[in-house]
């Protein structure tokens, strides 16, 4: 099976058409009554009339097609007929790749006899259907020029001249001369009423006449692409069969269920950000990624029992020798403790876990100043030894009070060496 694709709206010819392309009678080609394309010779595309090539005019090949070449000596294109062209309403248009120097009296561009003519005069005025302009304009010696002359009615105010798509602004006071009724000799590139003094010098790519009245938009469109006059071709594309190979569009097993539910298709994308540099910006840089969490054979049993956590570290607590100064201030003893626990197991229990340790406290050569305050030493298991305590002479009694817990009182062994002074009192309790 083969398929035919019709694609309307193709491009208009971008360059000169080399065969007979239909005129776009619904577009810029509307109302065309005369149209000459040198690629098809001196034959009017609109009517099929074959014009006569006179003098030194000829068709020449150029880079982008063909042109009517006017050497500017003695030549023209002409035809006697065209009774359908009449009155004063219409537009003459011409596109010239080159415009040469003026002839003796300028360039006769188009017209009928010496009455209804379009002529660029040697002094710069322009004649539009025989009506002279109020000012001069630049026509001679140029390239890629378009000229559009429209007449909207039978008055001079209805005459407009556009050059290269722009309104020249020229005004015409006299009314245009209407075309003769019936057959008439139309001439392109010469003013037939004035011999050879108005021969056009230059080249023509496209020239014609329409009964429509062109404005600035049409003149501009014509200047940009004169081939807009022709119809847009419908493009037909074939997908052809070759032997058993077919180039068809197939939808395989496409099924669409009737469902009100929304069909969601999701996919996780891996986002890789490689060595990104983040510029200082007020905007927020967002990098998102979907993470996959893998759990390998995880089993959680339902148990009310206790969980045992054990650790095998040993903790050691050591206290190095310290010096305790005699001061009324509170004695601050600081030490970093290293607590060693050997493979302790902590059971799950409501009871309070207590950690106890016996400290050995030794005080050597403590100098105790004579103070009224009390020095209290308390310990549940203390071996107290006082060496060579010097007690200064004082009128006040020096009382050393050692209080033992009653449960240990009997077992306490207290030894002392005192240098007694009668004047002093030793009190034991």
């Amino acid at each position: 099976m083969s398929s035919l694709l019709l694609m309307p709206g193709g491009k208009r010819p971008p360059e000169q058409t080399q065969h007979n392309v239909p005129i776009d009678h619904e577009g810029l080609g509307k109302g065309i009554q005369l149209l000459l394309n040198p690629a098809l010779g001196p034959i009017d595309i609109a009517t099929g009339r074959a014009w006569t090539v006179g003098g030194d005019v000829k068709v020449e090949d150029v880079t982008r097609g063909k042109i009517f070449k006017y050497p500017g000596v003695d030549g023209d294109l002409h035809y006697t007929g065209y009774p359908e062209i009449s009155g004063t309403v219409g537009t003459f248009f011409i596109w010239c790749p080159t415009v040469g120097p003026k002839d003796d009296w300028g360039h006769g561009i188009f017209g009928e006899a010496a009455t209804t003519f379009f002529l660029a005069h040697q002094f710069g005025q322009f004649y539009h259907m025989g009506s002279e302009s109020d000012r001069i304009f630049s026509w001679f010696n140029g390239t890629n020029k378009s000229l559009v002359c429209s007449s909207a009615n039978a008055t001079g105010a209805g005459l407009k001249v556009y050059q290269n798509g722009e309104d020249t602004g020229m005004l015409f006071s006299a009314a245009p001369t209407p075309w003769s009724s019936g057959a008439k000799t139309l001439t392109i590139g010469r003013n037939p009423g004035f011999g050879t003094v108005h021969d056009f010098n230059g080249t023509i790519r496209l020239v014609g006449y329409t009964k429509e009245v062109w404005g600035k938009a049409e003149a501009a469109a014509f200047h940009v692409n004169p081939w807009r006059i022709f119809k847009t071709r419908t493009r037909k594309l074939w997908v052809a069969s070759v032997a058993s190979t077919e180039h068809n569009l197939t939808i395989a097993n496409g099924a669409l269920a009737n469902a009100a539910a929304i069909l969601a298709i999701s996919q996780i994308h891996a986002i890789a950000v490689a060595n990104t540099s983040i510029a200082n910006s007020a905007s927020t840089l967002a990098v998102s990624q979907v993470h996959s969490l893998a759990m390998a054979n995880g089993t959680l049993s339902n148990a009310a029992g206790t969980v045992t956590i054990s650790q095998g570290a040993a903790i050691t607590l050591a206290i190095a020798g310290i010096a305790i100064s005699n001061s009324a201030a509170s004695l601050a003893l600081s030490q970093e403790h290293i607590l060693a626990l050997s493979t302790g197991t902590i059971a799950n229990s409501a009871a309070v876990l207590s950690l106890s340790q016996v400290h050995a406290l030794s005080i050597y050569s403590a100098g105790i100043s004579n103070l009224a305050g009390t020095v209290a030493l308390e310990s549940s298991d203390v071996t107290l030894t006082i060496y060579s305590a010097t007690i200064e002479n004082s009128t006040d009694s020096v009382a050393i009070t050692i209080t033992l817990n009653s449960q240990w009182a009997e077992e306490a062994s207290i030894s002392s060496v005192w240098t007694l002074d009668s004047a002093r009192t030793t009190t034991w309790s």
């Binding site: 035919l4 065969h19 007979n20 690629a39 010779g41 099929g48 074959a50």
Partner: protein, 112 residues
């Protein structure tokens, strides 16, 4: 010729032609015209004349060939009449030597 009797609305015309005298024939043309036939029952359109051309089809653009040498020229035409006679209009300025041929290959868009 029945132009689109088989749904062939377009055609390619090929003209074989030669001239004994080839002076100034380059880029001059031979016009191709159609006279539609049987457009109202068995009535036809008028025969083309130098002042009346019912339907212009295209132009064979001449080459500056050597004298008495065949040259083959082509015209591609779109939207031909359903049935028509075809006429040549010699605008070369020289006489065409007898023995010329005009061949036509109907074309359309369909599966090859």
């Amino acid at each position: 010729m029945v132009g689109d009797g088989g749904s062939y609305p377009d055609a390619e015309f090929v003209l074989k032609v030669q001239f004994v005298t080839v002076t100034s024939i380059e880029n001059k043309v031979i016009g191709l015209y159609a006279r539609p036939l049987n457009i109202d029952g068995t009535s036809d359109a008028p025969t083309p004349t130098t002042t009346y051309a019912e339907k212009y089809i295209g132009s064979f653009v001449l080459q500056a060939s050597a004298a008495s040498t065949d040259q083959y020229l082509t015209v591609f035409a779109e939207g031909l009449p359903k049935e028509a006679e075809y006429y040549l209009y010699n605008l070369s300025g020289q006489t065409i030597t007898a023995g010329w041929t005009l061949k036509v290959t109907p074309r359309t868009y369909k599966a090859s």
